[in-house]
């Protein structure tokens, strides 16, 4: 692989171009069998069809992706070189960054590779919902260190807010999204207030109770929530107002007619996939940004030592409430997506098992690690799926895997922590003009 440039010096644009071209070439070689050729069932006989347009997109994405990736890596490295104060210790290993980008690339490319495979895309969508929930809960548990066993409550609040806003006022997905987030955040604060003084086990028990209370209310308050029968025919999200329907209403466009495509049920599935991908990525960027702000550092300090935080003059009440509110808001967003994707919600979807799964994702991922959450969500969603063939041993496999991970990596899959601030040595010791 000498062609892929691994130069230590800063790359010139020409080198970067060449590097990306090589990656695109490899993508082409791999892509011909994987993307370029596809089998189609024609009247019972399998025939091979070519998809060169798709292949071109695949190669183009690889080229652009590699080019951008290299450029960003060089920026990062260049900036680091300038900051001599940063000691070697505790920097996120390059390998983790590379894995992170690789996972991102794979998730963007997935619907292109499996554009006809509804099962794969549906499962991947489920993984992404859990990734988003994991990132949301990570604020509360991983960063602020507040053990929350009732996170599913906020997921439910988000989902029901959308369902009710639609069924009473006809709100669309996009209108309901911010409102549902705000609603979930409000519930986060409502839960946060009474439990400010609790810690550890006590906190866990009360949050567990809160999760159950919300579910029990949804089951029993039939006038509001339609009880165990749930709420149905929740509309799917639209793309800038274009619905994904076979027969759009008279005088309106659908996604397929607008772009002059033949209607396909897969369009909606793929759209939903990209939608949750974008929502999850926004969550990631949002949380990563917050971490580097004083409020994020305060969350982490709170996890480390509450008494020290108080002595440092931190308003611990506000710090805790902000963590609960933001974690809840992100859970609420995921809930809206869930309701829109399923089209039907009932209290059944919001049981303690869900809270436990999301918490397991955060803990297995390595409390506080964003990439760890992705890996753990993959494991926890895919494992039961793979286990379907061994249905009666499914939960056994699941449990064994969890135990093995905790034995092998007691602090989670990725326990490294990225510092939130680096300081230029020159600036600190007077070199700064």
């Amino acid at each position: 692989m000498s062609a892929v440039i691994i130069a230590r010096h800063a790359r010139t644009p020409a080198e970067r171009f060449k590097d990306a071209a090589w990656v695109a070439f490899v993508a082409l070689l791999l892509g011909i069998p994987m993307v370029g050729l596809t089998t189609v069932d024609e009247g019972g006989a399998l025939t091979v069809q070519t998809r060169f347009g798709m292949l071109a997109i695949f190669v183009g994405v690889s080229f652009a992706g590699r080019f951008i990736f290299r450029w960003i890596m060089d920026q990062v490295r260049g900036r680091r070189a300038a900051k001599s104060a940063v000691a070697k210790a505790d920097r996120t290993p390059l390998a983790i960054r590379v894995i992170g980008w690789a996972v991102l690339g794979a998730s963007v490319a997935l619907p292109i590779m499996f554009s006809e495979n509804r099962y794969v895309i549906d499962t991947a969508t489920t993984v992404l919902i859990y990734v988003m929930l994991g990132w949301g809960l990570n604020v509360v548990v991983g960063l602020a260190g507040l053990l929350d066993l009732g996170y599913v409550a906020f997921y439910a609040v988000g989902a029901y807010t959308y369902a009710l806003l639609f069924s009473h006022f006809g709100w669309t997905f996009w209108e309901a999204l911010p409102v549902a987030g705000a609603m979930a955040a409000t519930f986060g604060i409502l839960l946060g207030y009474p439990i400010l003084r609790l810690r550890g086990d006590y906190l866990a028990i009360v949050t567990l109770g809160f999760g159950e209370i919300i579910r029990v209310i949804l089951v029993n308050w039939t006038e509001l929530s339609n009880g165990p029968n749930g709420i149905g025919s929740i509309p799917r999200p639209t793309l800038f107002g274009l619905p994904f329907e076979r027969n759009p209403a008279e005088g309106t466009q659908s996604f397929a007619t607008f772009f002059g495509l033949d209607f396909s049920g897969m369009h909606r599935i793929i759209f939903l996939y990209y939608l949750i991908l974008v929502l999850a990525l926004l969550t990631n960027v949002f949380v990563s940004r917050l971490r580097k702000l004083p409020v994020g550092r305060a969350w982490e300090a709170l996890r480390e030592d509450e008494i020290a935080c108080k002595a440092m003059g931190m308003n611990v009440t506000n710090v805790k409430l902000s963590a609960f509110a933001i974690g809840a808001m992100l859970g609420g967003f995921a809930g809206v997506f869930f309701a829109a994707r399923q089209g039907f919600i009932s209290p059944e979807s919001f049981t303690f098992t869900e809270s436990a799964t999301i918490l397991a994702i955060v803990v297995l991922g390595g409390m506080g690690s964003q990439l760890g959450v992705v890996l753990a969500a993959l494991v926890l969603v895919l494992l039961p799926e793979l286990g379907r063939n061994f249905s009666e041993y499914r939960m056994l496999m699941f449990g064994t895997a969890m135990v093995l991970i905790m034995v092998w990596k007691p602090s989670g899959l990725l326990a490294s922590r990225e510092p939130t601030i680096r300081l230029n040595k020159a600036a600190a010791t007077g070199g700064e003009a």
């Binding site: 000691a87 550092r297 480390e304 008494i307 002595a311 440092m312």
Partner: protein, 237 residues
Amino acid sequence: MMLHMEGVHAHYGHIHALRGIDVEVQVGEIVTLIGANGAGKSTLMMSLFGKPGASRGRIVFDGEDITRVPSHLISRRGIAIVPEGRRIFQRMTVLENLLMGTAFADPANFNADIKRVYAMFPILEERAAQRAGTLSGGEQQMLAIGRALMSRPKLLLLDEPSLGLAPIYIKRIFQIIRELNTEHGMTVLLVEQNAHHALRVAHRGYVLQHGEIVLAGTGQELLASPEVRAAYLEGGH
């Protein structure tokens, strides 16, 4: 006067931990508080932060009554504490720990403040990007002191800074306390079980027993006092 506690009582539930404390700290002084384990030394310091709050009596800091001021607002008035057991933020970096000391301070001062702290503790600059929990005990203590100094306090509280440190670090910590006082004019209230070192570095001292001040005097007087010698010096500390 920097700090004046007048007849302060404090309770933990039914435990009467402080029983009428009178303590004064003048500007520019090092005052030490010695006493056995459980005498109430840490309680006295934390009562300045209202944890536990004074159930009777008055605490005046820098001319203002702070008895009922909420704890998170105390440090803003110019009191910083290096708590017992250091309580640094283990998983955060050294630099992040220092930054936490300025939670409410003007960010414009950050560069100047960190320069000052790094000058005093060069090891912290070397280890800026390292996880604080991986520092040695002595280094962690320096970090805890550095973190407290980042908020530009008028009064620095140190709760048993020598606890659990190797002898070489104990010496260094007392040296630092003296330097802070003589070179930076810092007023210090120092709690110690290590009475010998503490009384030598302090201008004045108080002896605390079962929540009450039983003796007060200059460092030299207390060092020479037979009660102190019998109870705190010859006992082996």
